[in-house]
Symmetry: C2
Subunit: 219 residues, 2 copies
Amino acid sequence: MAMGTKAKPILYSYFRSSCSYRVRIALALKGVEYEYRAVNLVKDGGQQHFDEYKQLNPMEMVPSFVVDGQALTQSVPIMEYIEEVYPQKPSLLPKDPLVRAQVRAVSEIINSGIQPIQNLPVLQYVGDEKKMEWGRYWIDKGFKGLEKQLQQTAGEFCVGDEVSMADACLVPQVFNANRFKVDMSQFPTINKIHQNCLNLEAFKAAGPTMQPDCPDDLK
Amino acid sequence: MAMGTKAKPILYSYFRSSCSYRVRIALALKGVEYEYRAVNLVKDGGQQHFDEYKQLNPMEMVPSFVVDGQALTQSVPIMEYIEEVYPQKPSLLPKDPLVRAQVRAVSEIINSGIQPIQNLPVLQYVGDEKKMEWGRYWIDKGFKGLEKQLQQTAGEFCVGDEVSMADACLVPQVFNANRFKVDMSQFPTINKIHQNCLNLEAFKAAGPTMQPDCPDDLK
């Protein structure tokens, strides 16, 4: 590599992983170029369990984001890092500490309150027979609380009228909700924000079907 | 209230809630005074489901942190807020963005990767008969990955030799691990950090048995 140039960051991602999808949205909003490396979570017994990948991500999950040879893990910390080192607009977090806390709270309702309970390892443990019902139950329950939370904070987006990290969490969770056939007619606020996000180019470009590892028959 | 004075923040907490415990540690490390309001998660069908509390916290969970009449929810966002508005030492996050990302990653491995799967609503859904085995399985699995992660970052504490938000997440999760009878002899790095934390007054003061809502027979 020539002196003075920096390697592009690398995103280890799976097209359908909602946590990878969040980071892809954040990178697209910021216009950050990166190298995409696919980790297939179901092929070969799960490529996230390969020795080489475990070195990067001891929890054996996606995404991982590698910057200057250093691996960062966990989607929300990766988005916080992106906000800190790529200050260009749009900001993933607002400036006021109380409003930042609201953006982070919506993000965490999804990141820690909903998604982990319907994540792949839990579904595998619950078993094929029960996994659809399990996933639907927990997303439905979580969205009932989230809808009320968003009624307190939403404008055009999750918190006010500026897109933020919270929206980068919401859209992939709606994608999961649809996979699990959650009745989305219960959630008008979530639906409105979701539609406003999907009108933005960054959200379109980050979508599962736009990724190089999306199988042709799902495009 | 006299003009020019500010009301103390209010923490809605349950003595045994690991997410409340994290925020109590953060507040104790910073030396922030606050009013403690107990929310009993099991009495009366769960006081977190009371109408008055649901207004503060639509997800019907603890903790909630009320500042100037505004309710903040979700433990990690509350700790981020505390760091932003109470800049006194110790810092809950280091300054370097890469190291901050490491602290946040360890925090999220616990906050989103382990705790939600063994949280009260999930255990209630799984049922009394299976809940001990379920909780033990997921904490054990999560700690196996976390131990490897910490081997890469730990010094005296989770990331290097300075206490941080990650430690405020770790100690309450070890408390849960012990409740679920996880074999902690597998995790020497976690154990070392845990002991270093418990040597600090702030961690002692924030412990479950030190809270006003801890029943006498558990003290």
